[in-house]
């Protein structure tokens, strides 16, 4: 190992492993570490005292340090003591209301919560807010909640960050869930940040995987970062609840069991003491299909290679034939050809249709991650090396303007042939 001029064994950063999280910089007691202009931590060997704190705190093992005598402190003791949080139990799920019903993403999360609660031997709590919650409480139980805690008040009939944030945070203070899951819808992402700040707890946004770590019972949350090019696994050591938001369609819709039993508890709303904003008007989007691309069983997705206004009628025709709509990848939105609502990808929507047909979609990782829930993927691209082919069930290499009309003709034949013969 490298020694400095004073003969101290110093630590070194392996620069291509460093993720620039800066944890070591905060941990270093002598200020020997700085972030280089390239975004990599650098240790000044002359300042380093060889304590090894950076080595112990690095989440990705990017620090080389081999002082033999020092024993590695287990992770649990490594974290600065935060607020101890005893007595937090159960997995809470915020149930979002859309048009008087529970949002599908909420039920997907209840399904996941049931799985997590099973591993922790605890209960699932549905947390339901609204002006009129109707049958949503019963539905929550049918989908897997053991308890439903609701606040029903005309004051909650429309979403406002301040009123919902306080109501949900108040419920969490009262019920003390160990985990809280929120759908990463526009509303959910607005709400989650408010609640996490009110509760001063950790929140991991847009998770694509949730697991319980066997040894510790901690929630491990996997999420894409760096624009979807890298997956990070995050945990929240001390604060509770461990909060996570999850996009629609990331987890499977659970089966509904109307015979399931559960307990519904009503809670009083305590309104916030601040002046609330006033919603003047709601303007429905002109592009109704766009807002709903996640609900269609089939998607014809235009990518950079099909970024051409003249081709749209062709794609529309295919979409109609397969019972779906046209969506797109990021470059098409950037070119101004389609609205953001139709964008599939980590920064757009995660989708899980029965059939995905990508046309001229090259398959950036952030796009592929967002379509992996699709049952079948068909890829059409002129570049035989396009990454999309690696995830496709069937791929066709060539010019989509020739392929798509042929595809339409053959699919039409299959559909109209009642005998199932092709």
């Amino acid at each position: 190992m490298a020694k400095n001029s004073r003969g101290i064994e110093v630590a070194e950063i392996v620069s291509d492993k460093c993720i620039a999280c800066q944890i070591c910089i905060g941990e270093c007691p002598v200020g020997a570490i700085e972030l280089s202009p390239d975004g990599v931590a650098l240790i000044d060997p002359e300042v380093c005292v060889g304590c090894g704190k950076c080595f112990e705190s690095c989440p990705v093992n990017a620090v080389k340090f081999e002082k033999k005598k020092r024993k590695k402190i287990p992770k649990e003791e490594r974290v600065e003591p935060g607020k101890e949080a005893p007595g937090h139990q159960g997995v809470g799920v915020f149930i979002e209301m859309v048009d008087g019903r529970g949002a599908p993403v909420s039920w997907e999360l209840v399904g996941k919560a049931k799985e997590l609660a099973g591993q922790l031997d605890t209960k699932v709590m549905g947390l339901l807010l609204g002006g009129s919650v109707g049958v949503a409480a019963d539905e929550a139980i049918a989908y897997g909640c053991d308890e439903v805690h609701l606040m029903e008040n005309p004051f909650l009939s429309r979403y406002l960050s301040a009123s919902y944030g306080k109501a949900l945070a108040d419920l969490c203070v009262k019920l003390r869930p160990a985990i809280l899951l929120i759908g990463a819808t526009p509303l959910g992402r607005d709400l989650a940040g408010v609640v996490a700040t009110r509760l001063e707890t950790g929140l991991t946004a847009d998770c694509t995987g949730l697991f319980i770590e066997k040894e510790t019972g901690l929630l491990l949350m996997t999420r894409p970062t760096f624009g979807g090019n890298i997956m990070a696994t995050i945990f929240c050591q001390r604060q509770r609840p461990q909060m996570s938001s999850v996009h629609p369609k990331v987890f499977k819709m659970p089966d509904k069991d109307p015979a399931r039993k559960g307990v519904v508890t009503r809670h009083e709303l305590e309104a916030p003491a601040v002046e609330l904003p006033e919603i003047i008007q709601f303007i429905p989007s002109g592009d109704t299909a766009g807002a709903d691309i996640v609900r269609y069983p089939a998607l014809v997705v235009a990518g950079r290679g099909a970024c051409d206004q003249a081709s749209m009628p062709l794609l529309e025709e295919l979409a109609q034939l397969v019972g779906g709509v046209v969506a797109c990848s990021r470059p098409v939105v950037q070119a101004g050809l389609m609205p953001y609502e139709r964008q599939v990808g980590q920064t757009g929507k995660t989708v899980a249709p029965n059939l995905y047909i990508g046309i001229g979609v090259s398959g950036a990782v952030q796009h592929l991650v967002a379509i992996q829930g699709a049952e079948k993927i068909v890829a059409i691209n002129s570049d035989p090396n396009a990454p999309i082919f690696r995830v496709a069930d069937a791929g066709i290499v060539g010019n989509y303007q020739e392929i798509v009309p042929e595809l339409i003709a053959q699919l039409r034949k299959i559909k109209s042939n009642a005998n199932g013969e092709r």
């Binding site: 993720i19 847009d206 990070a232 496709a392 066709i396």
Partner: protein, 277 residues
């Protein structure tokens, strides 16, 4: 009116990848840029200043080299630029970041009360969209996320009305100042800096504030104030690896073979025929 804009320096994320062979980060050619959403927020703040009068302060938390995004902000119309930089701020997650920024906004407000805080909807490296709501909650500001238009500000009555994106459409909403807006890219197309502004931005001193300057508790900033930790990183796993056919050997044949492969799953074919019933 005093407008404060929060700006984050981020790596150009399209370039950051993991080498699948060695499982290490590939950084070659990765540049640091100002988060595009934040530059949109700055543009809107400058336009509002031009309309209603006042000052725009740009704030960024980061290592010393983050001053470059503040100089950029100056060249685009910010009047004051403040860098929050302290070893103790390192390793911050969104909770610690929103605490640090809110302390800075309180400090800025002592000299000149803050009416409107603007920030990007999310940063393109983390995509969390949590820091804005975190700041608003800590400071008790009226929170408007996904803003696509600032319709008006009434400096007398201290109100602002915005159009924001919500599920299935837009919402027009107004509320009391001070407020926080987190903005969408379509809100405003950023201007280009003029040459004189670029030159003057290079000469402008950047104020650097540490934890003490903003009266921040060292227990609540940086890694110490961060409940969430990174455990590991990995390349995204993508499944399947289906067959492919070349259309140059005959379009009809390629399509028919691809459909055979697709419908080899008979249940799937049946669902397709029934229109996914």
């Amino acid at each position: 009116m005093h407008f404060v804009v929060c700006i984050k320096q981020v790596p150009d994320t399209a370039e950051v990848k993991i080498d699948p062979e060695t499982n290490t980060l590939v950084r070659a050619g990765v540049e640091s840029i100002a988060n595009p959403y934040d530059i949109t927020a700055l543009e809107e703040a400058v336009r509002l200043k031009e309309k209603y009068g006042g000052r725009v302060t740009a704030v960024s938390m980061g290592p010393p080299q983050a001053e470059s995004v503040l100089r950029q902000a100056f060249s685009l119309g910010a009047d004051d630029i403040v860098l929050l930089s302290d070893r103790a701020f390192a390793g911050a997650d969104t909770l610690a970041t929103s605490y640090t920024l809110s302390r800075a906004i309180i400090t800025l407000g002592k000299a000149n009360p803050v009416d409107l805080v603007l920030c990007g909807k999310q940063a393109v490296d983390g995509d969390t969209a949590q820091t804005g709501p975190g700041i608003a909650t800590r400071l008790g500001l009226t929170q408007f996320t996904y803003v696509v238009d600032v319709e008006w500000i009434d400096p007398e009555k201290k109100r602002v009305q915005v159009r924001r994106k919500v599920e299935g459409g837009f919402e027009i909403i107004n509320g009391p100042l001070p407020a926080l807006l987190s903005v969408e890219l379509e809100l405003a197309r950023p201007r280009r800096a003029s040459l004189p502004m670029l030159v003057s931005s290079l000469r402008t001193p950047v104020k650097v504030w540490d934890a003490k300057a903003i009266d921040a508790s060292t227990q609540l900033v940086g890694i110490k104030g961060s409940p969430t930790w990174v455990k590991a990183i990995a390349s995204p796993q993508v499944h399947r690896a289906g067959p492919r056919w070349e259309a140059e050997h005959g379009v009809a044949g390629a399509v028919s073979q691809a459909l055979d492969a697709l419908f080899a799953d008979e249940d799937f074919e049946a669902k397709f025929r029934k229109g996914w019933e």
